[in-house]
């Protein structure tokens, strides 16, 4: 099924690659307001710094929030609020079309697989979700940057930047493989794919999620979603 998803991307990449590149342009980003522990990592720097109100941020930087903290970022006149325990790449704060999302998803596959005979990593040293229900009780620490990134991805989606949120989440799964075990996040973003009508991509994701340790509610939801998408795909 993953292969089918990839080939689906391939077609779409070809069809939209020509007109895409110009649509992403550098835009001004600045801190509008913030509360609590908010940090900024510019470019390729190794050091996180405190932010100031009105501070202009580099587009290739990162921003993160601690417990009970938040930051409101002004981006081309739009305001984006990032809640507590989140981390966001500022380059991800951008509007994307569904086509652009597909292109970015295809690129995720490209960078992920240098060799043709790659297999999904079946052995994962899961930090979280070892047992059903454990995920819920996980106490997220500020050092757990992968989870902060997933929170950031959700914040992007909740601010209307759903496509960017999905891509940011996907990148997080790759760079922090343990986060792949967090079913609730993955269901959240798979639902967005479904909502966007990207059924093949959503189905691939649900089938992967199905392999995780899920609670009863998650299992039945995943089954329902898989059946629902299969019906749609069969009818098309």
């Amino acid at each position: 099924m993953l292969n089918k998803t990839k080939s689906g991307f391939g077609w779409k990449v070809l069809s939209i690659a020509l007109f895409f590149v110009a649509s992403i342009t550098a835009q001004e980003i600045e801190v509008n307001t913030f509360k609590g522990d908010v940090k900024y990592l510019p470019g390729t720097s190794e050091i996180w710094t405190e932010v100031n109100k009105g501070q202009t941020l580099e587009r290739d930087g990162f921003i993160s929030t601690g417990k009970n903290s938040s930051v409101q970022i002004k981006h081309s006149g739009d305001l984006v609020t990032i809640g507590e325990m989140s981390a966001v790449a500022l380059s991800s704060i951008k509007k994307m079309t569904t086509d652009e999302l597909l292109l970015a998803l295809a690129m995720e596959d490209m960078i992920n697989a240098p060799k043709s005979n790659v297999k999904e990593n079946s052995v994962n040293t899961a930090v979280y979700g070892e047992k059903e229900g454990k995920e819920k009780s996980t106490d997220l620490s500020a050092n757990d940057f992968g989870i902060m990134r997933l929170n950031g991805a959700k914040q992007l989606a909740e601010n209307g930047l759903k496509e960017s949120g999905i891509i940011f989440a996907k990148e997080t799964y790759r760079k922090y493989p343990e986060t792949k075990q967090l079913a609730s996040y993955r269901i959240y973003f798979a639902d967005i794919l479904d909502e966007k009508g990207l059924y093949t991509e959503a189905l691939g994701e649900y089938l992967e999620i199905k392999k995780l340790d899920l609670n009863k509610e998650q299992s039945s939801k995943i089954e329902a979603q898989i059946n629902h998408i299969n019906k749609i795909l069969l009818n098309n």
Partner: protein
Amino acid sequence: MLSNIKILPQSSFDMNGYFGLQDFISIPFYNYESNPSNYFNTKDWGISLQYGAEFSGSFNSSIYLLAISKRLGDHSLSARYTPGFQKEFLFSTGESIVVNDTTTQSLEANYTYKELFGLGYSYKINEKLSAGLTLRFFEQDFKQQIVKPVFGDTLYLVTETLSEKLNFWKADIGIDYILNDHLQFRLASINLLNFGDDAITEEFQGFEMKQERGAFLAASYFPDDFLNLNFIYETTNSFQISATGNANKFVYGLTTFHDQYQEPYIAGLVPAFGYKTSLFEILLSGVYYFSDRTTEADFSQFYEEGIDNIINNRYSFDKIVLSLGVNISSTEEKKVELIDVEIIREIYPTFYDMYLDKPFATGRVVNISSEQVKVTPSVNIEGITEGKIDSPQILVEPGDTINVPFYLIISENLKLDRATLSNANFYVNVTANQPDDQLQKATLINSENAWDGNVVNLRYFISKEMNFSMNYAKNTFSENKNILDSLPVELYEFEKAKILFNNFVKKMTYVSDPRASVEYVQFPNQTFELKGGDCDDLSVAYCSLLESVGIQTALVDYKGNEELRHVNIMFNTKLSPEKARLITNNDSKYFIRKNEQGKDEIWIPIETTSLSNYNEAWNIAAEKFNREALNNLGLASGKVEIIEVY
């Protein structure tokens, strides 16, 4: 009266029937009667034997013909010995003598006509036209008993035999024209040139073969292999019509003929049936006459009309002939032709094995044989290849023309400091022996530093002189042994790359390629020798250092447009994503790629033209990769490409 006798040598009739200018059997071509132009289809040597029998009341068998043919390029030669081509007539002269007053003895006359041997030559002017001639030797042996008075005391009458042997030669020419696969023509003379003895003895004068000049025209229509139609018309108003063909190596024919000097109008049939392989041929044929034949004949008719053909005349009997043919070739029969070759890819000697996957030339090959063949294309480039390089076999159907690829492998040790023109010899073989055809073409061989601009092919420069890189890396590590010994194992790749880079940049200067119009890439040892290079040279040199110590690398091709094209590298730290914090707190500086086992590993990019230090080169490359490959979706749009070195 004697001048009425028409004893002519045979013209177009032969004992196999007429098969036209076909190429499926060669036996009929040994019959100069229907083949005065010596047309032959043999590829090298051919031998034929005709053994037959005549049913003249008794069964008289003999060897009719022994023949040999030889092809020399466009020339065909043949020779035949025809011991069975003879006809003997024994007549009573009408006179008799009484011996001892009781016995009457009739006087006899014996006329024997023989064709003993012949020679043939033809020349193939082009694929459609050929011409040739045949020269044949005949012998006539005349004997007649006469009564001669002997005057003495008493008048005696004694019988005496007059005899005379006359020889003569005759030559004919012919032209053969193959209009197309379906229509063929032959025009040939009959008795064009005759020279030899005339009878001196008065009694034999008028019985010599008197050769009336004539000609015949043959036309053949070949709608398909299994049915060929042939027609021969002679100026004497004789003609032959035949239907011949071949199927699955079997050959057959049926010839019917009208002879101006024989009855009935259609005088007889010549059926033939045979089998042919590439080596031998066998053909069984027969001559069946519709009129009744007897061994008794009236001298007055012979005296009045004569005969027109030694082997086919009104005094001939039904025959059966077994013909054998053997075709021997000291060289393989040419089955395919190489029409043309096109060089489709320039040759870069450093890309030594690239042409194993991508052909550098294609040739047009036509199967001129009547069977499916497997063609092996091969090439030898003087000074570039070590002998002939064979490409994979390709199946070609009869008559088909196809494109065949020529692959190549270049000697890894080839040194070529400048572009050169070399002769490429292209061959096509059907068997392992002699090539069926070959062509020579001048081919440009670039210098060993030449590059086609395709980043994928930089890998050849990386792998070249790997020993140099390995030694350089080892020396560098030994200078930094203390640092390496104190490192955790998991950071080996990362730190080795760092040590090598920091050592590398100290010695290098970025120099843009002065040969901008020509793609030129330095080998790693040359870059160190020259202490610098452009982005290609520096990326090649650094990749080579890393690969020489087992660090996996990839080239990153920023295509942009031609003027802004750039290449740098990324390498595999072998660190798992969970260990990323060992090298950076900024996760935008690395990328995750799966290895062949599906395990995630951290790769980091390095800008090889940033000749300050490792961290800066890493940062610059990461920023560029994030911006152009990821944020601008360059990887998806094809403007950025990651190319594995191995």
